[in-house]
Point group: C2
């Protein structure tokens, strides 16, 4: 807690959550899930927003490791980073499990949970 920095793991986790915690970026991610080989221009067209805006959002997703963008001729081909998504799923699962180990069996009346 306090002023001390978060462990790298949580820092990355927060970065990924923050990247996914925006409506447009969520839509971009969904679009990429449905269109595995898409280019920035496709995403711009689908979003109905300015090209620069979409580009900024793609940067956030890139920096969080949620997507990868490879140069494909003059364009850039974007796709989701499966490793990150798998890692994210496991981190969320770990949170749940940590809980079950604590709150699990017979403490119904002891307190809130």
């Amino acid at each position: 807690m306090k002023t001390i920095a978060l462990p790298d793991r949580d820092e990355r986790l927060v970065l990924v959550f923050k990247a996914l915690g925006n409506p447009l970026r969520m839509q971009l991610v969904r679009y990429m899930a449905e269109h595995p080989q898409c280019i920035t221009g496709d995403l711009v067209a689908a979003s109905h927003l300015a090209q620069s805006t979409v580009s900024e959002h793609l940067k956030v997703l890139r920096e969080a490791g949620v997507v990868a963008g490879t140069v494909e001729g003059p364009a850039r081909c974007y796709c989701l980073n499966e490793d990150t998504l798998r890692w994210l799923r496991e981190e969320v699962a770990a949170l749940t499990q940590e809980l079950e180990a604590c709150c699990a069996p017979e403490m119904e009346e002891t307190a809130c949970c």
Copy 2:
């Protein structure tokens, strides 16, 4: 896409991601995972921030359904909402699976992914 609202599912997903996409809130969640019966005051003490600040963050987590706060005498007992975390894990898993169904086997050279 466009100006049309997101489906409820994505709206909720964004809300949860946004709630978790903040360093302090992440720390609060971790604290709750380790201390299943904690009170607002505990979280305030651990965070070294003003009580009102922590209370606002707890509100964000509550409204996203990430935590539940039950009245426990004059205090409020907070704990993680396991249902939400399980749901979140499944949503993330669904994203990954959707991808694997598309990009899966032998398209190594066709494009970026």
